[in-house]
């Protein structure tokens, strides 16, 4: 295979990994962030802790996979974005640490203060985690302020532009929506119904639709669009992707309105998946698009490592991804039983 093909394959692997990660992370962080709003006592909270805690470990590794794949396949991209977003990545790290520790140790000490502190940490870090990821990815889709010398023209605060903030809100609200569905599907008793009611009552289903619209339309400081790359200008067919995204978002909205847990979950996930597909297809072949001047951006061809190194990763992915899907699928199938109250 030529190096251009290999670079494209590397891009597809990384995009795929991000999508698999975010789509799962949204219902884990979403159900976690809902726990304080929907559980009236510790028994109910434990139901939510179990259904998210059981899976979060294995899911979080998809994030690590996306990051290390970027490091190993496009080292310049990894280096450039991480130094630019220094503070943001440390905040993301702290959210990951806070969520990872709290979710596992909430009930490890018999102290009410401890439980309360851990529950707050769990809730806040889950919400923060998915919000930051939303800000980060929607900025990737619209590009960074890369100037012609390859330097960033403004500091990391530029991330919090209108599109970035609404991207974060879209991630958070769709996480809550899918999380409510996840709780409904996996628990018995009252929490599931309460969760579905909460996302409707507080208008989270509307916020999700609205923030998605804003994000896709791109009210930004620059005239960059989510279709910054070359594919959308080549063929009109690609515009079917954002349309599908919006259709799924509408169905999610409707499911929320009708309080249907299972379809909230499914269509919430599909909306996110298609938003991400739109974004990644939109930036191709840029890994770090520039919103100042398109040609300033770093393409996959500029950044990719040697053919030999891509081949190694490709073989690893071909061998191990099916195995991971197999055992993670097995886990979902066998361990996603309805969790009862006082299931101890």
């Amino acid at each position: 295979m030529g190096s251009a093909t290999l670079a494209s394959i590397a891009f597809i692997i990384i995009s795929f990994t991000w999508i698999v990660y975010i789509v799962q992370e949204m219902f884990i962080t979403g159900s976690s962030a809902l726990n304080m709003a929907v559980s009236e006592n510790e028994a109910e909270r434990k139901q939510i802790q179990v259904i998210s805690g059981l899976h979060f470990d294995g899911i979080e590794v998809w994030l690590l996979a996306a990051l290390t794949l970027t490091l190993g396949l496009f080292p310049i991209v990894f280096a450039e974005t991480f130094t630019y977003l220094y503070v943001i990545f440390f905040l993301l790290l702290y959210a990951i640490i806070g969520r990872g520790v709290s979710i596992e140790v909430i009930y490890k000490l018999d102290s009410k203060k401890w439980v309360k502190a851990m529950v707050i940490t769990w809730t806040v870090s889950s919400a923060l985690l998915i919000f930051i990821l939303g800000v980060y990815l929607s900025n990737i889709f619209y590009g960074f302020p890369l100037d012609s010398s390859g330097e960033m023209a403004s500091n990391y605060f530029s991330l919090f532009n209108i599109t970035g903030i609404f991207g974060g809100l879209f991630f958070l609200s769709s996480a809550l929506v899918a999380g409510a569905g996840w709780i409904k599907i996996n628990t018995t008793g009252n929490v599931g119904d309460k969760a579905v009611k909460v996302v409707k009552k507080y208008g989270i289903i509307y916020i999700m639709f609205f923030s998605l619209m804003i994000t896709v339309m791109g009210f930004n400081n620059t005239d960059a669009s989510i279709y910054i790359g070359e594919l959308f200008s080549k063929s009109i067919v690609f515009f079917v992707l954002p349309i599908i995204t919006l259709v799924f978002a509408l169905i999610t909205l409707y499911s929320g309105f009708k309080e249907k847990g299972k379809s909230l979950f499914i269509f919430g996930l599909l909306t996110m998946a298609f938003f991400l597909i739109t974004g990644f297809v939109g930036i191709y072949p840029y890994m770090v698009p520039s919103n100042i001047l398109l040609s300033n951006g770093i393409t996959i061809y500029d950044a990719v490592v040697s053919n030999k190194a891509v081949n190694v990763v490709l073989i690893v992915v071909i061998i191990f991804y099916p195995m991971i899907f197999l055992y993670q699928g097995w886990k979902y199938k066998n361990f996603t039983k309805k969790v009862n109250l006082n299931d101890e």
Binding site: D57, F90, A309, V313
Partner: protein, 389 residues
Amino acid sequence: MLEILSRMQFAFTIAFHFIFVPLTVGLIIIIMMFEIRYFIKDDDRFRMLSNYFSDIFLINYAFGIVTGIAMTVQFGTNWAPYTVAMGEVFGSPLILEVIAAFFLESTFTGIWLFRRHSLSRKLRLFTISMITLGTMLSAMWIISANGFMQHPVGAVWDGSKIILEDFWELFFNPYTWHMYVHNHLSALLLAGFVVLAISSWQFLKGKEEHKHLFELSAKYGAWTILVAGILLPITGNSYLDYLNVVQPDKIAMITGLTSGGLKTVVRISFGSMVGLGSVFIVISGYTIIFFKKFVKSETLHKIYIWLVPLPYLAIIFGWMVTEFGRQPWIIYKIMKVSDGISIVPVSQVWFSIISLVILYAILFIMDYVLTISRIKKGIIEPNGGEDNG
């Protein structure tokens, strides 16, 4: 300033991460021994011991996994030039660590944390085996990344960046394998020591009805220390012979041929590690030979509890020899540490280092409190269903 801060930050985060890692890597092997006994003999005592020590494992695993991500982030934030120059080669063991090991470890740890009491004997053994396999593979891959930094093979330097030539040469780098075996044995020794100390605490203050269980675990602990303690100097010796060929500078530091500054620290660390290694053999040998005396001796129990920091120190000394001994190189004889540092505003590094220190102090206290309180609760029998209580 930037260089000093970035180096301090990485040293701090990796050292902190390494408080949890050797314990979990070693302890899971001992837990697997319990599970094998439970599986073959259906001896319920081993199920109880496995559950008890699994709780200690799981607490430390939670802290180990999240603090590990701190290093990946820093390769981008603080070591960008290093990543750009070395990503092509350094990236593949990292990717393999995640894809071929981490997934396995984490997926099955989730099951073990929330569902182990509803698993059959067979599934219990399967889950624990997958976690053990995952930890062993993950240690292997990360050490192969370090092995490349110590002794770069399988790649060529084109003047600005490294290019992969032969993946298998990188994989079969002898440096990696010397380090891997030595490192894993040290983790096993540490876990054995912790098991012995926890069992000692149970003899002193634990519930009467469970003391017979801790006699078993004390034996497992002592034997683990002894076996690892004997194998460590043997593997260490062949490691040294190999270093003579590939890193003679380090050998000169160890033997005192060159001294001053870090070089002297290397020599003292090496001597301390070897000295502590001998202490471990004596302790475990004594415990095994005079086991009945040990079970009754409160003095020994107290001593063993107080000696728990020693294996941690030995491991830290070992790593100090390895890492200080290759200074000033980040990739031995190819790239210097000072050339690998990101040019970012110093204020940002101050922000990260201060916030990390505060957060890690909190995490350390949490881990300590959780581990100690779990040790003290002793054996708890589940009522079925979840184990998140």
